[in-house]
Symmetry: C3
Subunit: 271 residues, 3 copies
């Protein structure tokens, strides 16, 4: 079911405006180019609404959040909502500081998101309005043991926000408030490369921009594609390769992924 | 004719001060080290004139432009002009927002540039004072069809600004207002790596810093070198390699490029 | 003697808060993941004390220093001192501008550092309160000729600051004010990759966080590990590889380094 969505992404080459963080911005831009989209990074409040207005998609990422950037995020989100452009929220570190939690909650109030992608701590923080994450790398994980509870969490949070919620973990969950994709692609080594989550949020933005009206399938396709590429990158590892080469192979795999590979390699069930 | 210019760059190891963007700054710094120069990145208005005064070259890049950085760019440009240090302008996204267009035009008024390097949308925006670029990746390209018009554009813009203008596209044009180098090095895959334009602007700054008094030849050598390395990187691609490996091979090629390879590999005509 | 320190790092996976620069932040985060730690990057004054309070270690790096970030550095340093969390200072470019020199000296007054890591120009600037560095890449180097003078410099500066001082150069020196490790690991090619010093400072922060009460051994282990990985990366270089591949191999080596390899590969004498 995902092949045509990737084909649309390759064919339509959407321009995606990303307000992201200085740690992973380069990988996010290269990911957008690799998947077939075109990136534009800008976060100056004076110019960003214009930039968003040129774009087919918007991604807001709270990593290395600066207070001065918050109005830019709000303004771009509103512009995107007015233009009907899909908007992705990556609430990096929500729960790790009051500023990040409060900013994510403010964005949820002022912007209508198409996709919200985070880890369990971040999503729980936003869904339950309580913090407690130790950092941006969540120690709480979606596992077989808490799978039902996590499905209920994402379904409920998606239902309340009207956004597709993509919860990343050992198992990935993607829900629109009714159906839940339970996705088993991916490889643990992805956690040794910083910003694979940020990259996934950009990929979700690219899929959503290229496939208007199908946010659930677009987000699920992005999650399957990123995880599948993580598997393909792992297969390439040589005896001396570590996280440095893995990062490169992951980008290579995104660049070369075919609709047919995605169709055959996506491992999910739909509840 | 370009071999001695690269030899000078390797021998003189100029310190190049770059005010660039957080998306491509790491690649720009590594490019400067790979080509034989030494980078220093600083954009705090309070310190930058001092930093520029230590340097042999200056590069101003408008990607991820912040209003607070504009005075730093102006101050560094004036310092460089006073010291006789070559200055390169990369007007990333000029035309994509009023702020970027206005900032680029202000810099052109207040700073005397040695080299201006951009794509067709950016150069047209500055030359004709009109915007309209869809984003930082120009869709308008220099092609066989519009080659004469583009040659006239760069010659005229170079003549008016007193800068060497380097226009990047499927064909690259470099002019000092009289002569035009028409350069046919490069590979389309370079467009799948973010910041190859930013890197080229830094390479032009390094060549100009190492070859005072020869800005036209320095800029043309940088364009040929970058394009030639893009070709060499493409030759290395294996069956599983994509844009991730290509980015690494491109840096490797810059690092290993010899004056003799550049002399033999440069493909250009001079009008 | 260093094997157990690396084992502790792999086992304890400390969360390290780094306020670093936008040029090398991505490599710093990947280095922290590769060595077994977990990174969190944040520099917004409003949130950073909370972030530091979650962490087991703190790294303050002055590259691309912004005036607005200085209070964040001071606040985090004080929080870390109160919590007894090790703090590393990387005074990038101290001596290259009055702002950087003054900021580094202010941090030395207001924060008690566990480790100070820099090159000869930076350390001399702070030790003697005089500037004169040409840029962030020091041209002055620790060599056989000035080894005794450099040993005296680091011993004295460590004694006065109460910090372990790690001086990087052709030979690396690490002292706690009494003993001096003279370390001969490393490869000149490391200087062709931007931010290897920034990465080393983060590695020192990770070793210190995982080995409380052993700051001298932790810093020396980090210096030996980084240098040894630089040697291992060089061995892997193929005929077409340059600084791009070398950067990747260096990260791979950090990721795969075993306590036994570190024990056998560390080359140092203790004075």
């Amino acid at each position: 079911m995902f092949a045509p969505l990737l084909q649309n992404l390759r064919d339509r080459r959407p321009l995606v405006h990303a307000i992201t963080n200085y740690v992973t911005a380069n990988d996010c831009a290269n990911l957008l180019l690799a998947c077939g989209a075109s990136p534009i990074m800008a976060d100056e409040p004076d110019e960003v609404p214009e930039i968003t207005a040129h774009a087919a998609g918007l991604v807001l990422n709270l990593g290395t959040l600066h207070r001065t950037t918050i109005p830019a995020m709000v303004a771009c989100g509103k512009t995107a909502n007015q233009k009907g452009i899909p908007v992705v929220l990556d609430p990096v570190g929500a729960g790790a500081s009051q500023l990040r939690t409060a900013t994510a909650l403010r964005l949820l109030r002022e912007v209508r998101f198409t996709v919200i992608r985070g880890n369990l701590s971040e999503v729980e923080t936003l869904a339950r309005g309580q913090g407690g994450a130790p950092g941006v790398d969540s120690t709480q994980r979606v596992t077989a043991d808490n799978l039902d509870a996590c499905c209920a969490l994402v379904r409920d949070f998606a239902h309340r926000t009207g956004a597709v919620v993509a919860l990343s973990g050992a198992v990935d969950l993607v829900s629109d408030g009714q159906r839940v994709f339970i996705i088993r692609n991916g490889h643990p080594m992805m956690r040794l490369v910083t910003g694979t989550g940020c990259q996934l949020s950009c990929l979700a933005g690219a899929f959503a921009a290229a496939n208007p009206g199908q946010p659930l399938e677009a987000a699920a396709a992005a999650v399957c594609a990123m995880g599948l590429c993580g598997e393909m990158a792992h297969v390439r590892l040589g005896p001396l390769d570590g996280s440095g080469s893995y990062r490169t192979y992951l980008m290579d795999a995104i660049c070369r992924l075919t609709p047919d590979q995605l169709e055959k390699g996506a491992r999910y069930e739909l509840r």
